[in-house]
Symmetry: C2
Subunit: 151 residues, 2 copies
C-alpha cells in the first residue's frame, strides 16, 4: 500500500471528516443520541459557549443532520432532533465508543451502558465482508483508486 493520493473534495471519508472534525460537532451528536433536544440542555450539558452552539446547531441543520422543530410546551419552544441522515451516523458514534472503551476507558469503566432493548445483549460494531462475512481489519482490505488517482 504505497501512499494513495485522492482528491479531498471528492473523497467520501474526507467530506464527513471535515464536518465531524469540527470542534464540538461529535460531542453535540453524542448528546443528541443521548436524547438532548433543546438549546439550553445542549448548552449546559456540554459546557459550550452559546454563540458557538448556535453556529454548530446551524450547520448541522443546514447539513440535514438535525431538524429544528417548534413544539408546544407551556408555550412555543424549539427542539433539535436527528433526521434520518443524522440517525444514520449511529455506527460512527458506536465505533468511537467501542474504541474509547478499549483504549481510553477510565478505571471505573464507561459512564453508561448500551444494551439491546429486547434481548439485553451488548452492542457491537463490526467491519466485515459483505461477500463472505469474514471480520476484517485494515490489513485485509485492498484499496483501489477509482478515479482522480495521481501517484
Amino acid at each position: 500500500m504505497a501512499h494513495v493520493k485522492v482528491a479531498d473534495e471528492l473523497c467520501t471519508v474526507s467530506l464527513p471528516a471535515a464536518l465531524l472534525g469540527e470542534r464540538w460537532t461529535l460531542l453535540l451528536l453524542r448528546q443528541a443520541f443521548l436524547g438532548t433536544r433543546r438549546f439550553e440542555d445542549f448548552q449546559t450539558s456540554m459546557d459550550i459557549s452559546r454563540s458557538v452552539l448556535t453556529e454548530r446547531l446551524g450547520t448541522l441543520v443546514e447539513e440535514g443532520i438535525l431538524r429544528r422543530e417548534a413544539y408546544k410546551d407551556v408555550r412555543t419552544r424549539y427542539e433539535y432532533r436527528l433526521t434520518e441522515k443524522g440517525l444514520d451516523l449511529y455506527p460512527v458514534l458506536m465505533a468511537l465508543r467501542k474504541w474509547g472503551d478499549r483504549w481510553m476507558a477510565p478505571e471505573e469503566g464507561p459512564s453508561f451502558g448500551l444494551h439491546h432493548r429486547t434481548c439485553g445483549g451488548d452492542v457491537g460494531v463490526h467491519v466485515s465482508c459483505e461477500g463472505c462475512g469474514a471480520e476484517l481489519t485494515a490489513r485485509d482490505v485492498r484499496v483501489t483508486p477509482l478515479r482522480d488517482a495521481r501517484a
Copy 2:
C-alpha cells in the same frame, strides 16, 4: 429517552471525540490508513500547514496512535505508522466512509473502492447485538447511566 447527562471527562465517547474532533486529525488518519507515512507526503496530500501538521502528528504519537520510527532510505528518514491502537480506529473510519458514501457522495461515486483482499467482497460496517446478532439502530438500544448520572 430523556436527556441523559454524563460527565464528559469520563465518557468513552467524548474522550475520543475530543481527540478526533480536532481539526485535521480525522483526515490525517484517513491518509495514514491509505498508506501515507512520511511528513512530506502528509503535507502535500492534505494541504495542511507544516506547523499544524507537526503538532497533530505530535499529539497522535503522544496518544500512542502513531509511532515515529527512523528508517534508512538513502539516508535516515522518519515515518509515522499506525500502532495497534491506531489500527483499531479502522471501524471508525469505515463507518465514516459508509455514511459518506450514502449521504455525501458526489455524482461520480466514491473516489476509491474497498474490497476484501481474499474474496473481493464489499466492506460493510454493522452495529449488531452481541447476544442475538440482530442488526441495531439507535432506537433498538437502551442507554443506562452507570454512574455520575445527574438528571
